[in-house]
Subunit: 331 residues, 2 copies
């Protein structure tokens, strides 16, 4: 492996000049640049990233902390993040929080000790304050969550509006007895989606009885259970607004198992528009989340923070309803 010195002496210049050619900021005479580039070529020179980082105090690495790497969006998320970062020659270091606060914090710690130039964080568990504190230590962008004090460093989805749209759609079809299955309400997105539901109901002058809201776990199984709970409560409902597709599918399967027809007896909307939303029969009507654009925005923003690049992108992303077959007028 050749070094900058070898390149320099082959090109007949000093190492400093070679460095300047590489980094391109400082002007170098065209003739010199040519000679240096030839030398680099001939030697198959590759700058040593360790030395470079040590001297410049930049790692050219961006850390990504994800509360659960196997989550539904993470694939799409990462493809887009990585693509944007690579455009700028930055590497992506990933670390999973394995669904636990303590491990999430360890992850952050670990990435900081690696001296990443910036951090992308997708976390439900970390408090706003923890994130605000973190942002003072390192360029930070929060993914899929709005931290008000850090608004310009967040990339998130308009969950409330999405859920509002979904619920309104049910109402427009004539439903007035709509129950709601939410995600864990301590999570921001779950709470916002519930808020959207309530907003649409209120706007239509419809009551939302206590019993009509059930807090699930995002898991398919909790959708099944929620249906049973609703029936035990003797709650009359002709439609279900569900916080995500997995629970919606769970609910749907349970309804069908109980001999009910979707959408004839009960209508259903999900949220997330997962790839498999149309694998069920009938296809699940759901709210689409533009994960790809959110990811691109997040990485763009982080680059702007970490390397003073220009930036004019969105922070909040709109959702839209994708109609399939689970919604019909009430019986």
């Amino acid at each position: 492996m050749s070094t900058i010195k070898e390149v320099a002496s082959l090109a007949g210049v000093s190492p400093a000049t070679v460095s300047r050619v590489m980094n391109g900021e400082v002007p170098v005479a065209e003739k010199t640049r040519q000679r240096v580039e030839d030398a680099m070529q001939r030697l198959g020179y590759r700058p040593n990233s360790f030395a470079r980082s040590l001297a410049s105090n930049r790692s050219d690495c961006i850390g990504l902390v994800i509360s659960h790497l196997a989550g539904p969006f993470m694939g799409t998320m990462m493809v887009n993040l990585e693509e944007r970062l690579r455009l700028n020659q930055k590497s992506l270091l990933v670390s999973s929080g394995h669904n636990e606060l303590s491990r999430e914090m360890e992850s952050i710690d670990f990435l900081m000790s690696r001296r990443c130039d910036g951090l992308l964080v997708q976390s439900d568990r970390l408090s706003d304050d923890a994130l605000i504190a973190l942002a003072t230590e390192i360029p930070l962008v929060v993914i899929n969550r709005l931290v008000p004090a850090l608004a310009s460093q967040c990339s998130y989805v308009d969950n409330q509006r999405g859920s509002y749209l979904a619920t309104r759609h049910l109402i427009q079809q004539g439903h007035c007895h709509i129950a709601c299955i939410t995600g864990p309400l301590w999570k921001q997105d779950a709470a916002q989606r519930l808020a959207g539901f309530r907003q649409a109901m209120a706007e239509a002058g419809l009551q939302v009885p206590e019993a009509a809201v059930i807090e699930g776990s995002w898991q398919e199984s909790s959708g099944r259970i929620a249906v049973d709970t609703l029936r035990q409560r003797n709650l009359h409902f002709t439609a279900l607004a569900v916080g995500n597709d997995d629970m919606a599918i769970g609910a749907m399967m349970r309804l069908q198992a109980l001999g009910l027809n979707v959408p004839r007896d009960v209508s259903l909307v999900g949220f997330d528009d997962e790839v498999y939303a149309h694998y069920v029969t009938p296809g699940l009507t759901s709210v689409h989340v533009p994960v790809d654009r959110m990811a691109q925005a997040a990485s763009g923003r982080l680059l702007s923070l970490a390397y003073d690049e220009p930036w004019e992108g969105e922070r909040c992303f709109a959702t839209h309803l994708v109609e399939r077959g689970t919604v019909a007028p009430p019986p």
Copy 2:
């Protein structure tokens, strides 16, 4: 940010000793170690990873090249890889091949220029020779593929056996007219799965007409199309062995749309046992792939190669059939 020198002088030792305490390989007197650790604690010292890498010529980073980050297994894959690596204080650098050979090669190049200590590669496009050449340059483990010349550095699934089991299951139910929808046959796993199908058929003395094998694209849509093609060919079949779950689901939906009943009219087995395999009705019988164990093995093996750690793990992972509702005796 404090440096090793500051720690050293606070502890009243030389920087060398501090280094030895950190790295733990060389014996240090208990008393000294204690003083050094106190000093590190008091200063909140964090070793500078750049300097460390530069001096030791080790990055403590492992690169992961994935042909397509959003693929079905990648979530599970990454959780497990990351977890194992973190145990050993190694970071995971990810890079996507974006489903193109050239970009895959760029990814590898990029990770090499970052001087990763080792590489995990999941690639269909790279040739065996390319991988063999790569393995001479850097510790390498190939994921989900067997390169014979690199057998001990591969972590893969027994696709043939899985497909054999699935097909045998159909045969045992009494089917003798079984068609097969495969993945793109230039991919090793697709070819192996087809081989398993043929093996089971041959073993049972059943013919496999040319027309009964259809090459798909792994995509759900190609499962739909395959069903149509089979019918255009006027091929009589009572069961379908499908190369993956997505195509199986596509086929199933098409069959149902054509008014056929699964499994009464046509039986169906998939492969991969994706989370959503039971979202369809009836639940898809499929072959389970132990992605988690394969990932753990891959990372363990790579650690052993890159850092001379001990290693005694498996290379080839067995699959097993998960029975749900898409298989029944022929009409």
